[in-house]
Every structure is written in structure tokens, then in C-alpha cells.
Symmetry: C2
Subunit: 350 residues, 2 copies
Amino acid sequence: MRTVEWDNGAVKMIDQRLLPGTFEIAEFTDYREVARSIKEMYIRGAPAIGAAAAFGMALAAYQSAADEPTTLMRDLEAAAEVLRRARPTAVNLFWAVDRVLRVAADQKLSSPDDIREAVLADAQALADEDVEINRRMAAHGAALVRDGDSILHHCNTGALATVDYGTALGVIRMAHEQGKKIHVFVDETRPRLQGARLTAWELQQLGVDFTLIADNAAGHYMRTGQVDICFVGSDRTAANGDVANKIGTYKLAVVARENGIPFYPVVPTSTVDLNCPTGDDIPIEERDPEEVVGLTRQGMPIAPAGIQVGNPAFDVTPARYVTGIVTENGVAYPPFGLSLRKMVLGEGDR
Amino acid sequence: MRTVEWDNGAVKMIDQRLLPGTFEIAEFTDYREVARSIKEMYIRGAPAIGAAAAFGMALAAYQSAADEPTTLMRDLEAAAEVLRRARPTAVNLFWAVDRVLRVAADQKLSSPDDIREAVLADAQALADEDVEINRRMAAHGAALVRDGDSILHHCNTGALATVDYGTALGVIRMAHEQGKKIHVFVDETRPRLQGARLTAWELQQLGVDFTLIADNAAGHYMRTGQVDICFVGSDRTAANGDVANKIGTYKLAVVARENGIPFYPVVPTSTVDLNCPTGDDIPIEERDPEEVVGLTRQGMPIAPAGIQVGNPAFDVTPARYVTGIVTENGVAYPPFGLSLRKMVLGEGDR
């Protein structure tokens, strides 16, 4: 199945909190439950969140008892607000909700049922497009991978972070499918361990050669010449090419540049926020301390009780550390101000 | 009690594997058990390992049934070899064992019992000197800390990493004792979480204000201007100032320099290896994959079974990222070739 899909009036998604130990499908029939599933990270990854939010809007349309378009629109606006509040950093959430709202507001739709159908069809289309876009990004990105390359990857950007196929991990997957002999260093990605739990699980299934490492070890492998190229995702990319992504990405990017290793975020244009001039305008989500201290080691807590914890979920990598930004319309190179805008407007090399 | 001490024919040490959940004292009467305790990290931290090894040599001296000096020396040489093999990176292990062997070989000692007493007395002296040296380092380091500073710290370098007081954490402790208002960002330090488990525990007891963070978050706090200065330890420092320390130190140092944040290893001269021209000559220990994948999260494993794991315990920070090296004889500044040698020879500013 896909990471998230519509099935007969319900939104189904893989509960990623339980992986790799347990594969379980969660099913929701209330858009508020979808908002909660995003907040609590049943589902994560900017593109997957976007698709989940779009399906959440479809649920809201069918949940609404409205018998005329303006009432339905009011209900949809209310649902949009709940979904938008689920997480602050990834822009796809806002992008998807706004896209669905625009479709719903189409004046040609005269009855509530027409609107409901249009909303669901658009959510479905958005999900289908995500898979298609990922394959196009993967093709652009895989062209940057040479036979024999060792690739560093942070967090999870695979099928599980999208509707299917993946962004940065999609690039790795396509390079592997093209028969290139590659090796992947998988950052475990504390605090939530998306690398250890999800990326390792996906790469194992794909048969890609990989080594799981603590995030701290990435610098050692880079400095000692064991990494050829880095691919990461992005939760929001500013107009100037500053990239907000999973916490730890910034350190990686700085150390990559220091060692002359190309560093490429793989970013569907839906993740580019031209309304954000720079990374400093991107809100950084602070999450539950429990994500940091809630692990156990041989049955024992990993930290003393009652301490103060900082847990920013994302960081900003300034554009000067970014070699290029892979989008579905081609690879944008610095200066990003113009090149990225071209990609978003679809004027890149398709 | 001290982290490691001699008590009536036995070596006692805090079993740090169990902290912060359980405070337990391990007691050994066989030097091979001391070697195992170092290997399995009951005790860790370069200075603490050195003292444990010296006490291990004292145990070996008393374990030996030798009734003449040459036989005893042969037994001590054998014990030295076992202790040296416990861990490869921290040079204090070799330094302490060699120092005790030199004392034992003193031609003025005519009977095995004289040698046994001399060996124990030297191990005891080495442990006492460690505490004294740490206080001198702390004074030199604390002079670099300004009132109001926010300090980033990696791994554990406190009382638990030494016989008592600490190296980098000793600096922080002394700044706090001097009444400076400071805040510490504590890197959790994957994979073994010495920051979360040990440094947080020590700072909590000392009453120092701190925030525990995932290692990945350190870059975010540095880039956003929330860190004023970094202090770390070192397991071995090469003659040119390259610093081998806990995995992740290199990334920190690079990002610190990128943000204009001073970066100071705090290094007793026993940790400086003038026989190592550069960091590339320092062997890097690869440890058990279980350290990376052996955690659980809500009762579930954090990674799929049967995967390949890379687990280098240390990395090398080239001297160009190091602002200064704090020793008990003063602070060495670049170029380190001469300045560090002066500190080792005791020609620094005491």
C-alpha cells in the first residue's frame, strides 16, 4: 500500500511510530484525527503530510452536513485551520490545504456534493502527482550519482516520507535501480530515529547496501574520504535557497562543504516557499522533551528525571552550504534566487 | 567516593554503565578484571582509565607470587600487555602503565615487596595528581569563561571521567563555583549517551543550569547565536594539536569555527602524545554495533535486525579548528607544534 491513501470514505496510513517492530495501518474517518496523526507523527515527511492533509480535507467535506456551498466552505475553512495547526515547519501542509480550498471554492461547482467530489478528486490527484513528481526528482538526482558512490543520508525521505517512492531516498532508489553500485551511510537521526527505524527498514527491503551510523559519526566518515555525496530532504525551502530540514542537517551541510562533498537537498517544488525570503522566516517546531529522554538502554532511562531538554525538530541550512537543489523540474544551482523560482514556475529542464 | 580508588587490596570503581538509574560500586581483585572493566566501560574517560590501569598494575604486583624482582617484572610486563589491550585510543592507558613499569624497574628496589609497595604508591600518587591537575586545568579554563556565557559540552568529562573534578566539565564546575552565571548545552552524545546519562547527572548534582539536547541540535543553537564557547575533552592529542575525542567532536568543532565560537579541548598533558605527529596516527576504536542499535523506544527496537552498523568511538579534530588547548600548565595556542610541547615539558604558565 501507499504511505497514505483514501479507502472507501476513510484515510488509511501506515503508523510509522511503530516501525520497524510492527507494521500497522491506522484508519481515520474524522479530519481532526488526521490532524492528530500528523501532530503525533503517525505520518511524517513533508510530502506525506501534504497528502494526508489533503485527504483530511476530503474527510471534512464528507463529514460536513452542509446543504449549500457557503456552509460547506465555512466547514472546510474550519477544518483547514485545524489541519494547519498540526505542525508548523513543513510547508506542504499549508500548500496542500490551500490547494484543496481553492478547488472547493471554484464557482462552477454549484452543489455541496459537487464540491465534495471535487475535493476528494483533487486530494487523490495530489497524492498521485506526488508519486509522479518523486520519480521525476529521482531521475534528476540519480544523474548526479556515479557508479561506486558512497552516499550520506539524513532522516527518512523514502516511500514513508511521501505518498510513495521518496525524495532523497527516491534518488538513491533510482540510482540503485539503474544498476549503479552504491553504498549508503544512514544517519540514525536522533531524537526520533527516523534513519534507524525507517530508512534502514526501507533500504533493507530495497536491497541497497547500507551502514547505519550514529549522527555523530557522519563527520568521521566525511573527513576520512568515505563519503562522495549527500542527499537530504527538506520540510521548507526559502526563496533564497535556505533549507529547513530535520535537525542535524545544518551540521552535515557545513561539514560536507568543509570536505568538498556535494550536498543536495531533494525538494518537490511544493516544498519551496517563495513567500519566505530566507530561512530565518521559517518557524522551527519545538517538540516534546520525551522524544529525547524517552529511550531506554538495557531497561534503564537514558537521562536523570526532571531535567530541562531542548528539542527543536528542524534546523536551517543557509544556501551557501547547498551545492544544488534537486526538484521535479530539474536541479537549481546557486544563486538560488532566480534558479529556484524558475523551477517552481516549471521553467526548468523537465 | 572517587571514580576509581584503591581500597584495602582491591580496586573499587563506580559502575558507570548503570548510571543514572543505579549507583553501584564494582570491586576487583584481579588486574584482568580491571582490564575488562575498562574494555566494557564500567569506567571511561581518558584520565579515569589511566588511574584504573595504574591500580590494575598494583593489583598485578600483589597477585604475583614472584619471590625475586626479575620474575615480578615479568609478571608486571604481562599484566601491562593485558591492560594496554583494553582500549586503543586514549593514550592515558599506555602512559599510566608505562609510568608504573618505570617505577617498578627502579634498580634501587631490591625486593619484590619493595617493588609492590612502590608500584602501589605510584598508582596512588598518579590518582592524587589527576585531581590536582584537573583543578589547575579548571583554573586556566575558567578564566576563559565570562559571566553569562552559554557553554556547549560534548560527552562526559566530569568527575566520572577522571579520578575526581573533571577536565572540560571541571572548567565548567570551577566557573560555576566562581559565581559566574553560566548555562550549559549538554550534547547527549550518541551512541553511549555519556552526556545524557553522566554529564546531566553530574551537573544536576552541582546545581549548574543546563539543557540536554540531541547531538543533532547543537548546530542549530550555535548558528542562532545561543552558544558562546565550547569545551570538550580529549582521549589523545597529537603533537601538532590534532585532537582525538568522542565521536561527534569533529562536527562540533567545524560548526563552532564556522560560527566564530571558540573551541577549547581541555587536556591534561598526560593525554598529549608527542610520539603521534598528527591525528592520522591515532588509532580509532571501532566498538560493538549493539551500542548503536541496542536501545529501545516504547519497548521496541530502534532498528531492523541484521543490519550493518558503523560505530567508531572517536574522531579526529584537526588542529585548525582548535582555538586553544587548556592544559594544567596553561593554555596552548596555535601553532601548537611548539606551544603544546612547552606545556608538556612544564614550561607553560603554571
